[in-house]
Amino acid sequence: MSMIDKNTTRKEAAALVRDGASVMVGGFGVPGTPFILIDALLEQKPSNLTLIKNEANEDGMGISKIIEAGMCRKLITSHLGLNSTVIGMMNEKKIEVEFHPQGILAEKIRAGGAGLAGILTDIGIDTIISEGKTKVEVNGETVMVEESLNADVALIHAAKADRMGNMVYEKTARNFNPLMASAASTVIVETEEIVETGTLSPDEIHTPAAFVDHIVVIDNLTEEYGVLQSHVIQD
């Protein structure tokens, strides 16, 4: 059997992101953020993007660079507490921001990947985030319809992948990555290590190859992947 090989270059991968595309980006803080693919987008310069990510990284890092470069029209996210630059751009209306409770954002993406139209939830039902949302009665309780989220492209970070696209994440770098890998039309993975297909144990695979379209191998982990000294407790 000839083996499938989804390996591509970062330049070819970035060219798949068109102007106006919706792009899911994995990561929660540094772990799981695909910094190399983000840098490839910065070189490609697609415009008018809708970005979907848990947060906007910190000022000057990761997707914050795409937003700061004016390439992003709208951000769908959960929390921007560690990024005063993007909060400033939101307040100055330079970027549209849509906030969701963190687990509801995850579940909207999971539903999108699972081929569901949406989810029903009572989270935020008594708050201003319920305004304008469709409400339904289920078992005597009022719940809200949260529509599922899909995207044109997902940018994913894996610790290890085989050539066919089976993926393994490490520690808290998993976060939104497996959910987003299931919810986009084109899924591009950057991996720290690539192995021959068949060498990963089927039991250890977090995301099966069916979800993956293209793989970019990271040849050099840039400084951004490292420990953030600003978060290290100094004795």
Partner: protein, 217 residues
């Protein structure tokens, strides 16, 4: 003792063996330092950890292992990692014995407002709404008043809510106060404070069961 240490030490006493808990960013996280070293407790972090330990020191940080606030934690024996959907299944599915959060305001019927000051402070929602609404017990750790000295414990919240009628207990540098069907009830008073001071700095009626037998902390 700083007000932070006072609150953190008292908060740690709310945590019992065998519990599954979430400690919010800021004041709640400080309580971890005052838990007995051998306390068998599973601490959950929204970004995908059950079994978080203390903060790393002396260069033991791992670039792939952070907590929900971006800090670098250790993990305990029996810890597990998972994705963000499963992480919130633990919260919304009712598996958290307790969550600890900071706040801007709490009302006497247990309403919580801690995520937005319209026009001034709007960093987003994060995991707060789900923690507030679904943890089996919600404990608020906060200074008793704002920096300007205005009460944070009120008859009704003035800011947009995080969740309605969700708070069980409030721990401040001055007092431990429970939210009951009758309103705020004083449970403990700080050694450095007095019932009079707590009453004066609380912006809603405070039920004092028996002034002479209120425990101190």
């Amino acid at each position: 003792m700083s007000y932070k240490t006072k609150i953190a030490k008292r908060t740690a006493r709310e945590i019992g063996p065998g519990q599954v808990i979430n400690l919010g960013i800021g004041l709640p996280t400080l309580a971890m330092a005052y838990l007995p070293e051998d306390m068998p407790v599973l601490i959950h972090s929204e970004n995908g950890i059950l079994g978080m330990g203390r903060a790393c020191r002396n260069g033991t940080e791992d670039r792939n292992l952070i907590d929900a606030g971006g800090g670098y934690p250790e993990i305990v024996k029996g810890a597990s990692f998972f994705d963000s959907a499963l992480s919130f299944s633990i919260i919304r599915g009712g598996r958290l014995d307790a969550a600890f959060l900071g706040t801007l305001e709490v009302s006497m019927n247990g309403d919580l407002a801690n995520w937005i000051i319209p026009g001034k402070f709007a960093p987003g929602i994060g995991g707060g709404m789900e923690l507030a609404q679904k943890a089996r017990r919600l404990i608020i750790t906060t200074t008793h008043t704002t920096r300007k000295g205005e009460p944070k414990l009120l008859k009704g919240c003035t800011l947009p809510l995080t969740a309605k009628a969700c708070v069980d207990r409030i721990i401040t540098e001055l007092a431990v106060i429970d939210v009951t069907e009758e309103g705020f009830v004083l449970k403990e008073v700080a050694e450095e404070s007095s019932v009079d001071e707590v009453v004066q700095k609380t912006g809603a009626p405070l039920i004092v069961p028996d002034e002479n037998s209120i425990p101190t902390f």
